[in-house]
């Protein structure tokens, strides 16, 4: 009861904490919903399969992350699928034929450039997915195709279907709500490079466990590579294996946003309530005097926090659920989430976010409540702020610990790779923020004390700082946090951008490249032939493929320029050493299509453009023979006549672009993402700053009303009071900004050290300099100062509307 009437009475004072927490919980809920809805999942194309069988793992691609599996030949896969289909319990088993495809309407490419799995498959794959046929039916004969609705064609239209090696004029026989281009099975069988997955649909009424057993035993007895079976008995593994949504970038952003908003709101809520306790000392003392035990005071404060926290969390959760749709849609627009993203999970994220909100509020108020309980009853009789504020020892301990943590993070930054370094550098800055924030009441009055000048104004500023160290500290925190975040995140973006721009341009030969008009990679063999006709010298084309040696993946590339003699392979010295190959050895290997063969190898160092990623080079034709389903990744060359070439490439869905422009765009795209992260975080933080500053300054101004009134009574002009407040706020803000910038530097310098080894090792450690976007930082600082000054002035102007006498007469 008492708690409730106090909360009601203090609604305005608690508003800041409430708003901050509401926003935090809203963001948290929205982020959590979007994250939970973008967790890995089996894509729609396999959604109806009860079991998915894939060959064993064979290694990783040159990024060291993407797992590559072995492959079945068409015959091996068909025999396994056939055997499965014959079983009573299986409705159908499909050995999926998948391949790169591009559908043209004359010179126009239909559909979007989508990363992920190649978009072409045989019609039989349709049975594995939850995709629905919206119009028409299965392709019959050899010249019919089923297209996704997004291609914008209707049944009966004629389109040109391009694969790496073929060009078919086809009639649309059906339209689906899926993503795949489905062609008659015989065509898919000719085109695909081996089989990478067999999907099994169980007969009606057959349980998951039964399918699992059945498929496992069939697979055990089959020919070809060992296989792995995924079924609903381990849905998580199945989801993780087959997910191709590419949501991880967005998810990372959301985790960052969620974590930061919790961090920041613990901060804001903590200062709100700490401040509350400071402002309410007299009231708490009075309660103690009339008989409230320390425990009752503590419980009352915690109760207030819990009430506010619960209310804020519920409101926040409601906002967050609405926000999740907006947030998700916006991230889809920015390509941070798959185009097929939709809200899938709400209950769990809400159930997690609301308690986090309440716990955040209670955590924020824990130390404040302990301090409140320690208020002595006699303080009810003493005017505030005359008490000498002893700085508790725990502040120094916490500050020291946080500083050490910051140092540890800085070391981790230097040692981590690029991605780790970025997070650790942020960690360094945040740890130092905590250190400086906690220690602020110790050093801030001393810093303000350094203020030169003998004017009454500066005297007043200095003594106010001594008397109200904690108040000043809490008004400095937002500026400190903002500045640390801005300098760290924008600094990282620019430093990274500068480093990538300067050091990662690589060694792409030739002035021009061939790409899809809408971005995206891949060119047909016909496009490649035409390019070679229009190039000066041989074209540097890369058909990215691979072979298996003793079951191990070897990253291979099919070349025209620098290609080894027809029918032979060229191994890098490292690859030769790994497998014990010598010059002119004839070695056994398994091709990308699952067939085995022998090839003679030569050994020699790779040119720079290949050295960073390829292990084995093949003549283009040999690579193509064993990998018919894959587009050539890229072609770079010196064009004879770029426009003429573009004209003849149009019907292949390709065009000529200058290499440097393409690289600029690539770097820009990468930086756009980093900057986007930074900007989102900054906008969030500025919002928080506004809230918490408005909050703590309006609280402190009302607490200082009588002081202000006394100044007025003793003959200080209203304008002078406002100047004093402006000066104080600006000074404290400037100190916070400067300190925030200062503590960001260790992390940034650590990042430059870490980046030294991130680029081409042949050139030695890269020289990376810290780069700061001064204009942006200036704008952020100015915004922060303006918010601070306004937050100080608005309540003061309001307070001073009344006559000084009335203000003095007002109760303490």
């Amino acid at each position: 009861m008492i708690t409730l009437s106090m909360v009601r009475h203090r609604m305005r004072a608690i508003l800041g904490g409430f708003v901050a927490l509401t926003l935090a919980v809203a963001l948290l809920t929205a982020s959590a919903i979007v994250i939970a809805s973008s967790l890995p999942a089996v894509p729609p194309r396999y959604e109806r399969a009860d079991a998915l069988v894939v060959p064993e793992e064979a290694g990783t691609r040159s990024d060291d992350v993407t797992v590559v599996r072995a492959v079945w030949t068409g015959a091996e896969a068909d025999s396994l699928a056939g055997e499965l289909t014959r079983s009573e319990e299986v409705a159908v088993a499909v050995a999926e034929r998948r391949f790169d495809v591009r559908v043209m309407d004359g010179d126009r490419v239909l559909g979007d450039a989508a990363d992920g799995a190649p978009g072409g498959a045989g019609w039989s794959s349709f049975a594995l997915g939850s995709t629905a046929l919206l119009e028409g039916g299965a392709p019959s004969g050899a010249a019919e195709v089923v297209l996704p609705r997004s291609y914008g064609r209707a049944v009966g239209d004629t389109v040109t279907v391009l694969t790496a090696g073929a060009e078919w004029t086809m009639t649309v026989s059906g339209v689906t709500d899926g993503q795949d281009v489905l062609v008659p099975d015989p065509l898919a069988g000719e085109t695909a490079t081996g089989v990478s997955v067999i999907g099994v649909v169980a007969a009606p009424g057959v349980g998951t466990a039964a399918v699992d057993d059945l498929v496992r035993s069939a697979v055990r007895d089959s020919a070809g590579p060992t296989a792995e079976v995924f079924t609903g008995t381990d849905q998580g593994a199945m989801d993780a294996e087959f997910d191709d949504s590419g949501n991880w970038v967005g998810t990372q952003l959301l985790i960052l946003v969620g974590a930061l908003s919790v961090f920041v709101s613990v901060f804001v809520v903590g200062t709100t309530f700490t401040f509350q306790v400071a402002v309410r000392r007299r009231e708490l003392a009075l309660l103690r005097a009339v008989g409230a035990t320390p425990g009752q005071v503590r419980r009352m404060l915690l109760g207030e926090a819990a009430v506010v926290g619960a209310a804020a969390s519920l409101v926040g959760a409601v906002l967050g659920v609405g926000g999740a749709f907006l947030l998700g849609g916006w991230m889809v627009d920015l390509d941070l989430l798959s185009r097929h993203w939709e809200v899938r999970s709400v209950a769990l994220p809400v159930a997690v976010s609301v308690p986090i909100g309440v716990v955040t509020a209670v955590t924020g108020v824990l130390s404040a409540s302990r301090r409140g309980a320690a208020v002595a009853p006699l303080e009810a009789l003493r005017p505030e702020n005359t008490r000498a504020e002893a700085v508790p020892r725990w502040r120094l301990w916490v500050a020291g610990t946080a500083a050490v943590l910051g140092a540890v993070f800085a070391v981790a930054t230097v040692r981590g790779d690029m991605e780790q370094a970025v997070s650790y550098a942020l960690g360094t800055a945040l740890a130092l923020v905590v250190a400086l924030a906690v220690a602020a009441p110790v050093y801030l009055p001393r810093l303000v004390g350094l203020l030169p000048g003998r004017s009454p104004l500066s005297d007043l500023l200095r003594s106010e700082a001594r008397a109200g160290a904690r108040r000043l500290a809490s008004t400095m925190l937002p500026a400190l946090l903002i500045s640390a975040l801005a300098v760290t995140m924008l600094g990282q973006a620019d430093t990274l951008g500068g480093a990538i721009d300067e050091h990662s341009r690589g060694d792409i030969p030739g002035e021009a490249m061939v790409t899809r008009p809408d971005g995206g990679n891949g060119l047909t063999d016909l496009a490649l032939e035409r390019t070679r006709e229009h190039a000066q010298g041989e074209v540097h084309s890369t058909l990215s493929t691979g072979v298996y040696v003793d079951g191990n993946w070897v990253e291979a590339v099919g070349l025209h320029r620098n290609a080894p003699p027809a029918g032979t392979a060229w191994a890098s010295p490292a690859t030769a050493a790994e497998f014990g190959w010598e010059e002119d050895d004839t070695v056994d290997l398994t091709w990308r299509d699952g067939t085995t063969g022998r090839v003679t190898v030569t050994v020699g160092p790779f040119p720079p453009e290949l050295e960073m990623w390829a292990e084995l080079a093949l003549p283009h034709d040999l690579a193509r023979e064993h990998d018919p389903g894959t587009f050539t990744t890229a072609a770079s060359f010196d064009p004879l006549d770029a426009d003429a070439l573009s004209a003849v490439l149009a019907d292949q869905g390709s065009e000529v672009v200058s290499t440097s422009r393409l690289i600029d765009e690539g770097v820009a795209a990468e930086m756009r993402l980093v900057r986007l992260f930074a900007v989102i975080i900054l906008v969030l933080s500025l919002g928080y700053t506004a809230i918490s500053l408005a909050n703590s300054l309006s609280l402190s101004t009302s607490a200082r009303r009588r002081d202000l009134a006394l100044l007025r009574v003793t003959g200080v002009h209203r304008r002078q009071v406002l100047v004093l407040l402006t000066a104080e706020s600006a000074l404290v803000g400037a100190i916070g900004l400067a300190l925030g910038a200062l503590i960001s530097l260790p992390g940034l310098f650590a990042l430059t050290w870490s980046l030294r080894d991130e680029f081409d090792p042949r050139r030695g450690p890269a020289e990376v300099a810290v780069q700061l976007p001064w204009a942006d930082l200036g704008a952020v600082s100015a915004a922060c100062l303006v918010i601070g000054v306004l937050a100080a002035l608005v309540p003061a102007v309001r307070a001073m509307r009344r006559s000084p006498a009335a203000m003095v007469a007002e109760r303490g």
Binding site: M1, I2, S5, M6, R8, H9, R10, R282, E283, L286, L287, R288, A289, V290, G291, A292, T293, P294, G295, Q296, P377, L378, A380, L381, R811, G812
Partner: protein, 258 residues
């Protein structure tokens, strides 16, 4: 507790026994003895005024007496309870059950109404008292119609009277007031004083008031004088001393000269 027993106890018991209290403060390196061997016994059912020059230790004595502060030495027994033996929790409970007090100003919690303020100690003690009791107490100080006003809607004198109502609600052994009229004008001060006097006369409570004002002290049963942390003199009506404003003013003047 039945009435005859309480009356007898009131007649024979000392409501408050203070013996050889000492209390020192160290500020800025030099030591001040706020209390330096102060001793005072107060009979139940009497009105006692404490007077003395500023800084003589009056407030400190009063704070120690109601358990708001702890002395460095000496003993305090209130209503038979020795405060020296109480822990923080017990002394808090002692405060809300055995004593009531009224400060010079800032007596009420801003967020609570007059009635809620009156009821606060009882609430904190989870006592059985309810709104009716609070209204009755407010009635006693003539403020029943202001029960649902919040402190900022009340004048200074009315706030003091609410504080008196709160102080008497739990029927404490001793009610202390530290310059309760110090911040009020003459008429309002008199009103507050009337109510304090009534606490003794009609409720048979024990009241201890610190004051600078000889006219206030003149309405007490006994006036004690403090200087340098000790009780140095007294005028006791029951012992036959003249207790009027003039003689009190003379004593005060003597003290201040000394």
């Amino acid at each position: 507790m039945n009435r005859t027993l309480e009356a007898r106890r009131g007649a024979t018991h000392e409501a408050l026994r203070i013996d050889a209290l000492t209390k020192r403060y160290t500020t800025g390196g030099h030591e001040v003895a706020a209390l330096d061997g102060a001793s005072l016994d107060v009979r139940a059912g009497t009105f006692t005024a404490i007077m003395g020059p500023s800084g003589s230790g009056k407030s400190t004595l009063l704070h120690c007496a109601v358990g708001l502060d702890r002395p460095d030495g000496g003993s305090i027994v209130v209503d038979g309870i020795d405060l020296g033996g109480l822990g923080e929790r017990e002394i808090t409970e002692f405060r809300r059950e055995r004593v009531g007090f009224v400060f010079q100003s800032y007596n009420l919690v801003d967020s609570l109404t007059a009635a809620q303020n009156v009821l606060l100690p009882a609430r904190l003690a989870r006592g059985a008292l309810g709104r009716e009791d609070a209204l009755a107490a407010l009635d006693g100080v003539g403020l029943r119609d202001r029960a649902d006003h919040r402190p900022h809607q009340l004048s200074g004198g009315e706030q003091q009277r609410v504080a008196i109502a709160r102080a008497v609600l739990t029927r404490p052994a001793v009610i202390c007031a530290d310059e309760p009229t110090g911040a009020l004008d003459l008429a309002r001060g008199r009103q507050v004083l009337d109510h304090l006097r009534a606490v003794v006369d009609t409720h048979a409570r024990t009241v201890l008031v610190v004051t600078h004002d000889p006219t206030v002290a003149a309405r007490a049963d006994r006036a004690v004088f403090m200087a340098d942390g000790r009780i140095v003199d007294e005028l006791d009506r029951t012992a036959g001393d003249r207790l009027d404003a003039a003689s009190i003013a003379v004593r005060m003047a003597e003290l201040e000269e000394a």
